[in-house]
């Protein structure tokens, strides 16, 4: 069976067939699998990353550790991934804006951002953000001043990137848990900025 032939069968049936055979043969544990699905569907998401960002904004020592070793600092908050990849945190500054892509497939910092949005997996985003980042960012509604340097980071199997966005003006004195509610997924991929409420 080639994948083309397999494609003629409804994918729902193929997925069911695959899972039932894997479970029957003891190759996977059904409960483990269900737990993965539930975890990624409902619990792991940009909220993990938002907590990391809010902590970095309010705790200079944590920010320093986060930028020095993202994987370790993120693990401090209890967020770990199954893939063994390193997470590198890219700090936005008033003069430098970072944006993340995976040009080969869809590598993504799952433990902090959950599953990638559909546009992140789109070939158009994957190729255009490298060639014309300012145009693509403008399409996301992010117009950057000409004197801001845009840096595009290409993820790999070894390294996943996450952006530490700029803390918005007007949020001085806001507690960490409130700050976390402002941080969007898109701002941690680098296609948006965080705005004050």
């Amino acid at each position: 069976m080639t994948s083309t032939e397999a494609g003629r069968i409804d994918p729902a049936l193929r997925a069911e067939a695959l899972v039932s055979l894997l479970v029957e043969r003891g190759l996977i544990d059904q409960a483990t699998m269900d737990n993965f699905i539930k975890t990624y569907e409902t619990s792991v998401g940009p909220m993990n990353g938002a907590k990391v960002v809010a902590r970095a904004w309010t705790d200079p020592g944590y920010r320093e550790r986060l930028l020095a070793d993202g994987t370790a600092a993120i693990a401090e908050l209890g967020f770990k991934g199954p893939q063994g990849e390193h997470i590198v945190v890219l700090e936005n500054t008033p003069g430098v804006h970072n944006v993340v892509v995976c040009t080969l497939c869809s590598c993504y910092p799952w433990p902090v951002l959950g599953l990638p949005p559909s546009w992140y997996k789109d070939p158009s985003y994957r190729s255009r953000i490298v060639r014309e980042p300012r145009t693509v960012l403008a399409e996301f509604g992010l117009e950057l001043p000409g004197d801001v340097t845009v840096r595009v980071f290409d993820s790999s199997s070894e390294v996943r990137y996450m952006v530490l966005p700029l803390r918005p003006a007007g949020t001085e004195g806001m507690p960490e848990d409130e700050l976390a509610t402002l941080v969007t997924r898109d701002s941690m991929v680098g296609v948006a900025e965080v705005t004050a409420p």
Binding site: A12, E16, L21, T32, T39
Partner: protein, 122 residues
């Protein structure tokens, strides 16, 4: 940062609601259909059980996406989990875990069962 079970540790399933929970409108629908979640979960569970290497799966996925995008340029970027599933099928068959023929026969068998069947193998 690997380790069996570490990623599924409920200790980090924090604040899905309440004041400290970041907004849910960040998230969008993760799986468009239940089978997409099944395909996703099966890959992670196989990796968790040490049956497949994650990098092997990633390479299979890259290959599948590349081949499908080349074969059907108009559909490029569509059907992400179709490709995910095809890559996983290919990998389990190439790894000798479940043969392609077994997968096909089981899918065809499931197709003959009435809707709402309990999905148990005969």
């Amino acid at each position: 940062m690997t380790g069996p079970g570490g990623h599924a540790d409920p200790a980090y399933l924090l604040d899905a609601s309440g004041p400290a929970a970041p907004p849910r409108d960040n998230g969008e629908l993760v799986f468009a259909a239940p089978w997409e979640g099944q395909a996703f979960g099966a890959a992670l569970a196989l990796n968790d059980a040490g049956r497949i290497g994650w990098e092997d799966f990633r390479q299979a996925l890259i290959r599948e996406i590349g081949e499908q995008d080349a074969a059907h340029p108009a559909a490029a970027g569509q059907g992400y989990y179709d490709r995910w599933l095809a890559a996983l099928e290919r990998l389990v068959s190439e790894s000798g875990l479940v043969s392609a023929e077994d997968l096909r026969q089981r899918a065809l068998l499931l197709a003959t069962l009435p809707p709402g069947h309990d999905h148990d193998p005969p």
